[in-house]
């Protein structure tokens, strides 16, 4: 790294290498986590945040090994609790930039409750949820995002529970920033990581990620070249929801209150559904779209500014101090009803 500018306060100019720790990375060969790690390390220099002010918090699972590989501050905690750890950290240290790395099991099963609350409180953390629809570290049981009927070691006759949709969950929890990207689309992933990191408040980024050992190609619909061409719907603010190969462009439009796929050339421009990141209702509809009946939306579904938990609490603290002065335990002890003997 080299330091730009003359003053000591200037943020150094980093390269990807500055964010690589000295630890050997221990994921399975071919794991999607490698691409995500690389994309994050590569995106970090663009955030303009001093490395020592960055903290990665994780829970338990394959994804949660992440902090060990980042040359920043890091805390690998316990299963599902990273959102609560991050909440306490932010309240103690609002000057830090906090990332939270989790998976479908860690974030939506054992830690589902904490995920709900970190989103509704809008704590300023960037949440990266690696969704591979399987339990990897415990060797192949189904996860809360596995499809109904999924045959795994713990469900030999098929999973009987319906999957949760992470994007819908986040929106339902009141998240103010919700986006999706794919581990095999590195430029898009980098763009989404930066957007999520720059957003103030809780930003929720679902990363569709491949587990080559226990759930290979679970997201093939968005990996395989031909299928990707058919189904990927890139969300861009102000652009209509149009997708598909050049010779078969299709559009998602609203038919009453129901989304519907039609041939793009059959739709008048005024009837197109133009993506608006600030429209909560539209985001909820988008969150539910998926192949094969619909395209697979990737990009920012929803992004608005909302009150931030720690900002509000620390404002209260400042107000209390400015109105009544800092606390004085000696005065407090002798306040109110006392008597002398």
């Amino acid at each position: 790294m080299s330091t730009t500018g003359a003053g000591p306060a200037a943020t150094p100019k980093y390269t990807k290498k500055d964010f690589e720790s000295d630890q050997d990375v221990r994921w399975c060969p071919g794991c999607g986590d490698y691409a995500i790690l690389s994309a994050i390390q590569k995106s970090m220099p663009d955030l303009g945040v001093p490395r020592e002010d960055i903290v990665f918090i994780s829970g338990i699972g394959c994804s949660s090994r992440f902090p060990y590989y980042m040359n920043t501050y890091g805390f690998h905690t316990i299963h599902g609790r990273a959102p609560a750890i991050a909440t306490g950290l932010r309240l103690a240290r609002p000057d830090l930039t906090v990332f939270l790395v989790t998976g479908d099991g860690d974030g939506l099963s054992i830690g589902g409750n904490h995920m709900l609350h970190v989103l509704r409180r809008n704590v300023d953390v960037t949440i990266l949820l690696f969704n591979n629809r399987i339990y990897g570290l415990t060797k192949g049981q189904y996860s809360p995002t596995s499809e109904l009927g999924k045959v795994t070691k713990s469900t030999p006759m098929g999973a009987a529970d319906r999957p949760v949709n992470p994007l819908a969950f986040a929106l339902g929890s009141g998240a103010a920033f919700v986006a999706r990207t794919v581990d095999r689309n590195i430029p898009h992933m980098e763009a989404m990581l930066k957007r999520a990191a720059m957003h103030r408040g809780a930003s929720f980024l679902e990363i569709l990620q491949n587990c080559p050992v226990y759930n290979d190609l679970a997201w093939n619909v968005i990996y395989e070249k031909e299928s990707k061409l058919q189904y990927e719907l890139r969300l861009e603010h102000g652009k209509p929801l149009i997708f598909g190969p050049p010779d078969d462009r299709r559009a998602v439009i609203m038919d009453g209150v129901v989304p519907k796929v039609v041939k793009a050339r059959d739709v008048q421009e005024s009837a197109l559904w133009v993506h608006d990141e600030t429209n909560a209702n539209a985001a909820k509809l988008l969150a539910d779209l998926f192949a094969p009946d619909f395209p697979v939306p990737v990009g920012v579904l929803y992004a608005v500014d909302a009150p931030i938990y720690e900002d509000l609490l620390l404002e209260q603290e400042q107000r209390a101090i400015s109105e009544r002065g800092p606390g004085d335990i000696g005065k407090l002890l002798t306040s109110g009803d006392t008597w002398r003997i």
Partner: protein
């Protein structure tokens, strides 16, 4: 009551001087008995007496009126000498309804003062209490006790007849009639209650007027009605000179944290999920934002403790508080703090259990949970306050040790200490030991699990310190480097190191105070909220010429270095606890002494009578 029968000259009615008295107010949950008791306590403290209180109320917020389980009570003992407990047997019982009479009459001494609110003794309430006929009509009641039937509702209404209040509002004032009567009986000053009324009803002058009138009417009733033959005075207690205030355990824990925040100059993040009887700490702390106490009402118990751990990782002090069921949920996270070697303070306000158990009742059955209630070898420091006021010092000490040794500290308070209050000599905060936190900033030779040679604490680094970026976590670490390690010998070394670190906290423990002879027949060893009962029982035995001493442990892990020696100076060791025998097992295991337990698990404090009896039995059996 010990009756030093000297009549005070000049009083309209004969006035006798007592050295102590035990009074209990009992009524329906909606009768305002807690408030009445608190005000009577304030009056007694104002009069210069030493006081100990025992609030006792149902878990239901508004239990069905008139039922036995809906009875709420407040007991206190006040005296002209040191008062260690709220008292065992009652000198005076105020029963506001039949259910209260039924539940509490058994605790009244024969010949004790029984004041009954007869207006509540109607057919409906008698049925609910299961009385086939009105007990106050039974002549044996008046033979056994000094029974006074007072129609408090009617007298209250009479006092308020020209005020524009509805019947319900007038009814609600009757507890202050009872307070007025009992205040007259024990010659309590009304000033503290009048002041309270003024503040409480500052915005509704009519209610302020009503409560003042009823209080004074009750007082006048005692003076003028023919029924009370005499009344009592209790001289101010001989207490250490200084400025005093009433202190409850929960408030003292909270204020101890405030003192620690101020002294350490660090913010405190307090994570909690509401639970009886610990919620009061969260509520108290939330009022003191000026001390940079940041409270989180978390989504659950696990979030409460993990938020605290996250704060400690960030260089603030993480504290969480709960009761036993919540502590059970926090177990895994406390283990994380053990492994990550971060400071963490955990308050456990123990209550009756297991499971939901008796949420509003006291118990001491979480000692083993504190010592061992986590997976694997997970040593933590365990402290226990002895009195409500002592909670202040123990909270401060917990925090001081947690940051000095980079270790979790569990504080075992209980429901009795939490809600009970005592006159508390306000300490000079400048005499509290310093809490000096030095964050590591030196890059030279830094490793995350380097150790201080004296404390074995690893360095505490604030994220944001350039050049010291590092990762910690719940996976076993190589000592010094902090890198993940599955090496068998390293794990064995780390297990021993974490234990040794806690063991070294013994350096912080002052010499143990022995109340009584330095050797002899019986040593009574206690911990936590039983301090008062044990002290009273031991001092009574001593005054009877018995060879008895008492030791009360503040440090339960590690144990005081001199305890083994002390235990061996007595022929027998008695360990009274409100559990099935937890400390006694620890002492037997640790010191190979034939200690015996005295155990009652009734959701109530141990009485000094029963401990005294147990001492005598042990002496007799040898």
């Amino acid at each position: 009551m010990a009756e030093g029968a000297t009549a005070v000259a000049g009083a309209v009615k004969p006035r006798r001087e007592l050295d102590r008295a035990v009074v209990r107010f009992a009524g329906d949950s909606g009768d305002g008995m807690q408030l009445t008791g608190e005000q009577f306590t304030a009056e007694s403290a104002w009069a210069g007496n030493d006081v100990a209180t025992l609030p006792n109320f149902p878990a239901e917020i508004r239990a069905p009126a008139g039922t036995l389980f809906g009875v709420s009570s407040f007991q206190l003992q006040f005296g002209s000498q040191r008062v260690y407990t709220p008292g065992d047997r009652l000198d005076c019982l105020v029963a506001m309804n039949p259910a209260a009479l039924k539940v509490h009459l058994g605790d009244l001494k024969p010949g004790g003062l029984l004041i009954v609110n007869t207006s509540a003794f109607d057919k409906r309430n008698l049925d609910k209490a299961g009385y086939p006929s009105n007990p106050v009509d039974d002549p044996t009641l008046g033979e056994r006790y000094r029974l006074h039937n007072v129609d408090m509702t009617a007298l209250t209404h009479e006092a308020l007849k020209d005020l524009l209040l509805n019947t319900k509002e007038k009814d609600r004032c009757k507890n202050f009639f009872a307070l007025g009567v009992v205040s007259w009986i024990y010659t309590r000053p009304l000033e503290p209650t009048l002041e309270w009324i003024g503040k409480r009803f500052a915005k509704s002058p009519t209610l302020a007027d009503a409560n003042t009138r009823v209080l004074k009417a009750g007082h006048a009733f005692g003076e003028t009605a023919e029924i009370f033959g005499e009344h009592y005075t209790i001289e101010p207690a001989q207490m250490a000179p200084g400025l005093y205030r009433a202190m409850t355990g929960n408030r003292a824990l909270a204020w101890g944290l405030l003192a620690a925040a101020e002294r350490s100059k660090l913010p405190i993040v307090y994570g909690a999920y509401p639970i009886t009887p610990a919620s009061g700490i969260l509520e108290e702390l939330a009022m003191h934002k000026r001390f940079r106490i940041r409270t989180i009402q978390a989504e659950d118990e696990i979030a409460a403790v993990t938020a605290a751990i996250g704060a400690s990782f960030g260089g603030a002090i993480g504290v969480t508080g709960s009761s036993g069921p919540g502590i059970a949920l926090k177990g895994e996270a406390i283990g994380l703090a053990v492994m990550a070697e971060l400071p963490l303070v955990v308050f456990n306000i123990q209550r009756g259990g297991p499971s939901t158990g008796l949420p509003t009742k006291t118990e001491q059955a979480d000692l083993m949970q504190a010592l061992y209630g986590r997976n694997s070898e997970s040593p933590v420091v365990v402290l226990a306050p002895a009195t409500p006021g002592d909670c202040f010092f123990v909270a401060y000490e917990a925090l001081r040790v947690a940051v000095k040794y980079m270790v979790p500290v569990i504080v075992l308070s209980d429901g009795f200490l939490a809600n009970g209050s005592e006159p508390w000599l306000i300490p000079d905060v400048s005499t509290l030991p310093p809490i000096d936190v030095e964050f590591r900033t030196d890059l030279e030779g830094f490793f995350p699990y380097l150790r201080d040679p004296a404390t074995l604490a690893r360095p505490w680094v604030r994220p944001g310190t350039a050049g010291l970026e590092h990762r910690i976590g719940g996976i076993e670490k190589q000592d010094v480097t902090g890198n993940i390690s599955y090496d068998p010998d390293n794990h064995d070394h780390m297990v021993r190191t974490r234990a040794e670190k806690v063991r070294r906290v013994a350096q912080e423990i002052p010499p143990t105070t022995v109340n009584g002879p330095a050797g002899g027949e019986v040593l009574v060893v206690g911990w936590g909220g039983t301090f008062g009962s044990i002290t009273a029982a031991a001092e009574r035995a001593q005054s009877e010429g018995l060879s008895v001493a008492a030791v009360h442990l503040r440090y339960l892990n590690p144990l005081p270095p001199d305890l083994g020696h002390i235990l061996r100076q007595y022929r027998r060791v008695l360990v009274p606890e409100i559990n099935s025998g937890q400390l006694v097992r620890v002492l037997r295991a640790e010191y190979l002494v034939d200690a015996v337990g005295f155990n009652r698990v009734r959701g109530l404090p141990l009485s000094s009578d029963e401990i005294h009896h147990a001492i005598n039995q042990l002496l007799g059996s040898t």
